[in-house]
Amino acid sequence: MDVHGISILGAALAVSVGAIGPALAEGRAVAAAMEAIARQPEAANTLSRTLFVGLAMIETMAIYCLVIALLLLFANPFA
């Protein structure tokens, strides 16, 4: 297998493995926020703002993996 084939495999692996962690983390964060809003509906504004910022932070990890995959596919330094 040449460098191109390995790069495509690496890109697929980066996105697929890199999506697992953030997906689990986002699920937990949203579940916790839903529970908090159900308990205290009057705090929904603050909670959802904090949730959005937190989700953005978590999501960044998956986006990093996507950027790595794109680098491997389109701007590979070794190919």
Binding site: N45, R49, V53, A56, E59, L70
Partner: protein, 224 residues
């Protein structure tokens, strides 16, 4: 298929300088926003405001309230920067849905420039609000041992801010382009509707994070 999302197409040459599509779109948006704001703010009245002024006041007041809640202080000194950032990002993210245009934030250079603006203005505002020495001392906050890590986090925050915006907007456009090339004409419409939502959410997140960084630098909230 589609070209690489990491390169930007050159539209024309201005002497020796190549001018790319994001630059053209950005200047077009800036001109449209400046012209639109100038026209909308031409006849402001206290008594019996017109419909345009009412909408304008609603937008500005919502922005001011959100920024004040995030930074837990008076939002007036930060409203010009953060409000312009939000309005520009919202329009720029949605401009990718116009046929023939590409969202300028879907290229890494635009996102990096915006993050650089946030980084430098948070330093400048922090120094102006707290004084140079007090601001620099904030980097050695719990112990001086953490000084390198604090400096590093300042840079990685700006880096992740730009990568987040670029990755989200670009991946949305890229997925639409791939689906369009695989399937028919109307199949990507639900994806474009999702992109409409995601563009606004990304503009909101970028602005809130910028507010958090600036708030941490001027000392109104805990440095995140």
């Amino acid at each position: 298929m589609t070209g690489s999302p990491l390169t930007t197409p050159v539209v024309f040459l201005l002497g020796p300088v190549p001018v790319t599509l994001p630059v053209v779109v950005t200047w077009g948006l800036m001109a449209a926003m400046a012209l639109g704001s100038a026209l909308a703010a031409r006849r402001l009245r206290v008594e019996r405001p017109g419909p345009v002024q009412t909408v304008l006041e609603l937008v500005v007041e919502t922005l001011r309230r959100q920024i004040a809640e995030t930074m837990q202080t008076d939002a007036t000194p930060f409203l010009p920067l953060l409000g312009t950032l939000f309005l520009y990002l919202a329009i720029a993210n949605l401009s990718g849905l116009v046929p023939g245009l590409k969202a300028p934030t879907a290229s890494l250079e635009t996102a990096a420039a915006l993050a650089l603006v946030v980084l430098l203005s948070s330093q400048a505002l922090g120094i102006r609000r707290r004084g140079l020495w007090a601001y620099l001392k904030g980097f050695a906050h719990p112990t001086p041992l953490l000084l390198p890590l604090n400096l590093l986090s300042e840079l990685t925050r700006a880096f992740s801010l730009s990568i987040r915006l670029f990755g989200n907007v670009m991946s949305g456009e890229f997925v639409i382009a791939i689906v369009l090339s695989l399937a028919g004409l109307f199949v990507p419409v639900p994806l474009m509707a999702l992109e409409l939502l995601l563009g606004l959410v990304q503009a909101y997140i970028f602005t809130v994070l910028a507010a958090v960084f600036i708030g941490g630098a001027v000392g109104t909230i805990e440095r995140g």
